[in-house]
Symmetry: C2
Subunit: 232 residues, 2 copies
DNA sequence: GTCGGTAGTTGAACACGTTCAAGAAGGGCG
DNA sequence: CGCCCTTCTTGAACGTGTTCAACTACCGAC
């Protein structure tokens, strides 16, 4: 439609540059329609028509309708990382850092609450490449875990030596729990989820501090052993 | 096909007795095919054909393919309750009671691991009536929570007075976590899930006992307050 | 016995996600 | 320019879950 020079705007991978703008066009159209109508109500035919391509062409770039979700997934992760940066720069204490990063994650997701909720079912399926535990999404997952690693590393918190290496992954798991709650949260503006974060963070903060307590050492060790056993 | 007397075998609700055996026939056929071929590979047409009815007739009894899952759900709950009974009769200590009931739940689910895993995605969708948190499944859910109430009530465990009323629901939530792990468990025979139960139960047992400890009182209270706030 | 209404049943039709054989576009190379 | 190969694009066709207007079977009332 629009006339443009030979080189792509983003100047990405030159080996696959040819269809790149078509790919982005389809992706952006899909994201828009998902937001406007919801996931189930957006048909592949509608996406193709609005993007001005054929149905089959959409399938050339995205193996299935679900794969379009993965696009959303990756995009959200990047936005989360970016919107968490100010918090990591500003805060020093563990609690505020964690709370800030969790809130930032929900901030990013909030505009898509309606349709994100619908598609999270796909993410829950173990066989799906969309599962946050799957190998296919290990990239975004590791990035997310690393983000919580930064939360911890940049903080002044004193953490039990045995707990420390496991903590980022545990915090990520807690974040998954927050997202799960958010998905089911029907309160206006998902305020309950905000309460969950604000309530759970001091609790986590406290528990992390308590993990160094003598009485709790055996429990801590027991729990960590279990986690190590269960990791695949 | 087969000749039978006027009264139904189960002699259930007389008001809706007429189509009851057709309903059961469709349900049983669906469950069998789900087990044999998996959920996605079983078509509504195949169910109808094998049951010897028309496709539309299956939809007369079950609003959607998903609703057939709910049937599996309810059935599993009943079986769980039944297979947990010996444990509740035999054991007196909290730990063994809890472990026994959790293992019983997985025992019931195990033959269906293949297809149950696939359909749990539907249960994760918040808008779905299949969600364990939804109003539609409040019946089975309450029954399940009550089961954990029995685990606690019949035990000799000493529990913090404030924690006690919340504990059955928390234990059910933990059970949901076990099921979630089981769904993703690819280890042969799902042995990892068994390890999870055997590892987590002593931990829970220990934490419940510790909840009465003075140092932990504030944390316990803080956590319980949060939970009460978040319940809808 | 006949009538009427409810419960049950049917199969064709619809919209959807997905596939695929066929073709078009583009570019390197003689 | 002509050739070939890869990349990209198309739209018809398939199988699926679901709907629905029409039909049949039953059963109580008159």
């Amino acid at each position: 439609m629009t006339e443009q020079p030979a080189q792509t705007t983003t100047a990405g991978d030159p080996a696959t540059a040819r269809g790149e703008q078509t790919r982005q066009l389809i992706r952006d159209t899909a994201m828009r329609l998902f937001r406007e109508r919801g996931y189930a109500q957006t048909t592949m035919r509608a996406i193709a028509q609005e993007a001005g391509v054929s149905v089959g062409n959409a399938y050339y770039y995205f193996g299935s309708k679900d794969h379009l979700i993965q696009e959303f997934y990756a995009q959200s992760q990047v936005e989360h990382r970016a919107s968490a940066q100010p918090v990591l720069d500003r805060e020093e204490a563990f609690g505020p850092r964690l709370a800030g990063v969790l809130h930032a994650g929900i901030d990013v997701l909030t505009p898509s609450h309606g349709f994100a909720a619908t598609f999270f079912k796909t993410a829950a399926e173990p066989t799906s490449p969309l599962s946050p535990f799957s190998a296919e999404s290990s990239g975004p997952r590791q990035a997310a875990i690393d983000l919580f690693g930064e939360v911890l590393a940049g903080s002044t918190a004193k953490v039990d030596a045995e707990l420390r290496p496991q903590l980022p992954e545990l915090l990520w798991l807690a974040y998954m729990g927050v997202v799960l709650y958010w998905v089911h949260d029907r309160s206006p503006g998902q305020t309950k989820t905000r309460q969950l974060i604000d309530g759970a963070v001091p609790l986590i903060d406290r528990l992390v501090a308590l993990s160094r307590l003598r009485v709790l050492r055996p429990v801590t060790r027991q729990a960590l052993d279990l986690i190590r056993t269960l990791r695949h």
